[in-house]
Symmetry: D2
Subunit: 261 residues, 4 copies
């Protein structure tokens, strides 16, 4: 499982989220709490929005705590919307192309979770990526396949619905030919204006997902960045939040498939 | 285009092929002659056979001339059969998983050339990899797809025929949906006992392929390693050589498809 | 020898200097003209100034043309003053800590050239770095030693004089215990406000140094970025230029030591 | 603090020490017990002896568990004497040149521990490296300085005495100008015939050091590789062991300086 954090609001230095907090993302790369894998050191990725339309992406396979470039960028880059991800591989190789966030045009996506029996159904999932998008498949992870399938379902025009259909379809493939747990999903995606984050699982163990509202913006995270636990709102399973201009809206996400909460 | 060299014979230090010769593989990584791309610095790979059944593989994306590990290994490892490859990417990413040689069980494979219009037909080629082999697809290159398709055609039992069928099928996909030049192929593959090398192209510009016999073995290369050009035998287009116990046997390889020489 | 380029003026995307020009720095990494070493692929470095006082630094040992992070950053980062450097090692190892630019507080420094007989005098040069600065010695290059010696001579208060004294002292050590050519120096350094570039050699072969004035700023380079050769002004040997608010001022730099031009 | 393991005896696959045991070195890279730093992922190094006189060295900065090359080499390389080290940086940079083991000719050296106040006394330690050896200083660690100082004291002819003098001298510099704990030392060194391992500290907290005798050789480790704790012999503080042809001899090591055990 992986750890991630995102920000939407006033421009913020990236290090304010990933390095400075008591329980920052870089700290979590060695000592994650709400996570089966305490060490998350199989790659790091950062996507931030600036004056260009598409996000700027930085990825590397060094552990986050030892990456001088990452520390420089986190100290210098200030952005109103950014996503950061540390990876703990669930099987696929440790290389840059397997690091999150993945991007397509203005959109980026990062994920914590897994698709059950992925190695057995990977070819089937690859086949579900539309031809025109296949060239964007740079690595071999389940997360990237999920993202490109969602793009194929019209993520750009229906960010929540397309993602829900992708998660559902992939879950069905896992139910048919993979193995349990079939779908574990806590992910965030954005086009630079809106920030989305969804939580879902086939069983009753959806990966954790929290957000916290500040006067100048909102953090969305896979686990709280500090001990002020009252300040962090847990997103319920089978829910998705959308953050736009400082307001957080929560909606159902695949509620029928999931009877768990 | 890439550069490569292989050895079959008495145990030889790898550096005797890739570093010591006047025009060694490491030298070629900066200054290749018979090649459109003089700089081949998008990754290096080495596969050698030893007391284990499967080959030992070392890959890295640093330029060959700057890789201290490669220099150490080439100085210390002595093997009766090894393959070495320097990559010049034709489009896919520079990462370890895209470096040759690729392996499957006892078999390894390295390639110089390209599949025309690969980005447009990559999904189709991926679909031609049998399900049971799909998990061995670690990177995103045309070369690796070609190899796994050949494995699917029974490379282990019919090393030349299966490779020929794979090359032919992939060429047909390029003819149908890709673009020219449809197939350029100079490749070497081995199971640790026999060393194969084939040369083929859809047009009359098959990538160069040479071998040279020494008292203690045979070198097979994408271009001669020294200026003793008379000593290097050019393999004809639409031919394949098989080297076993010091004898070199040349046979036709896809002769009907190719009218060129 | 290395290749480098710097910009001072209106905010510019870094790619406008290092990727877009006909003969950009990334192009030079494979095909440098005015240079003994056509391939410069032993590491890349970037330092740019933004809202922080100190520059942001990005370094990597991958060849510049294959570094996805570099391409992302160059496309997204816009800065009024930045330095970019591609390295061709003259002996020391290819690692991130040996990549230019080197930094100290607000200051950064990059260099093309060499100190003659460096391996024999490296310990002596290390001894010339003041104690308080020794912790900033991160790698093992002659260039970094030169920079820290200049910092020790008061670079922050006398940017040209301190650099001249450092170059002179190091040259004297090479004259005494090293070997010729004793000093080859084409370097650029900056505090984020002023951009300096100096050219000097013990012999008559000072490394090339050019600048070009545009309506919105000035480029300083180790070789012209395009074929409009008339537009590029060659800095004379034993000269230093200072660029401040768009004006370029040229002064002598170690003129007595050098009788060559 | 770092973790390490060494083998002297019949030829053994490296993975039998670093991957297969219940509490192997690769396992320790995520979960070390007898160690302040549970994650040791700031680089890996391997040195083994074969038919060449000097050891073959492989180093990389990827975490050990994610390094495909390391897994290949550990599976294929069989050697009668090898050293393996995983690094947890105590301050200096994560790069290949800072990874252990360090080598000089036939000799190699790896270390767990630290020199107190190293950043303040690094220049002084560098000055203690003889001129003729200074070119072998490739990185910036205290461990490498210690090793080269020991080489300067005649390690090749007096492996225990020279190391003791180096440790003592460096400790004295730390006592004078560094800070406590002044010296923590659990190290192993070898010329390919004899394997040495010493344990020492200025205070009573010498880093742990164990060995275990098997029918075909001896393992020396920074912490036991399995739960058969009775089988592992703890080397006492202020002691050094020498392993030659299967016999382990223990001697005092700096006994006067240390009153602790």
């Amino acid at each position: 499982m992986c750890r991630w954090a995102a920000w939407s609001g006033a421009p913020k230095y990236i290090e304010e989220l990933i390095r400075d907090p008591q329980h920052s993302l870089i700290h979590q790369s060695r000592n994650a709490f709400s996570c089966k894998t305490p060490v998350n050191a199989d790659g790091f990725g950062l996507a931030w929005y600036d004056s260009r339309e598409e996000p700027c992406v930085y990825k590397d396979v060094r552990p986050a705590w030892a990456d001088a470039n990452l520390q420089q960028l986190a100290h210098h880059v200030r952005s109103p919307l950014f996503l950061a991800h540390i990876r703990a591989s669930t099987g696929t190789a440790t290389n840059q192309d397997n690091c999150h966030p993945f991007t397509f045009g203005r959109w980026c996506f990062m994920h914590n979770g897994q698709v059950g029996g992925y190695s057995a159904i990977r070819k089937q999932l690859d086949g579900m990526i539309p031809d025109r998008l296949y060239g964007h498949r740079t690595g071999g992870t389940d997360s990237e396949a999920l993202f490109l399938i969602a793009v194929g379902h019209g993520l750009e025009h229906d960010p929540v619905g397309a993602m829900a259909r992708a998660v559902q379809e992939v879950e069905e493939v896992s139910l048919a030919n993979g193995k349990g747990p079939h779908m574990r999903f806590a992910a965030s995606w954005s086009d630079g204006c809106h920030l989305f984050a969804g939580r879902y699982a086939s069983d009753d163990r959806a990966p954790s997902l929290y957000y916290r509202s500040f006067s100048d913006g909102t953090s969305v995270v896979s686990e709280p960045l500090d001990d002020a636990l009252d300040s962090w709102v847990e997103v319920r399973a089978s829910s998705v939040i959308q953050i736009t201009d400082g307001s957080v809206e929560e909606c159902p996400f695949l509620p029928k498939l999931s009877s768990a909460a």
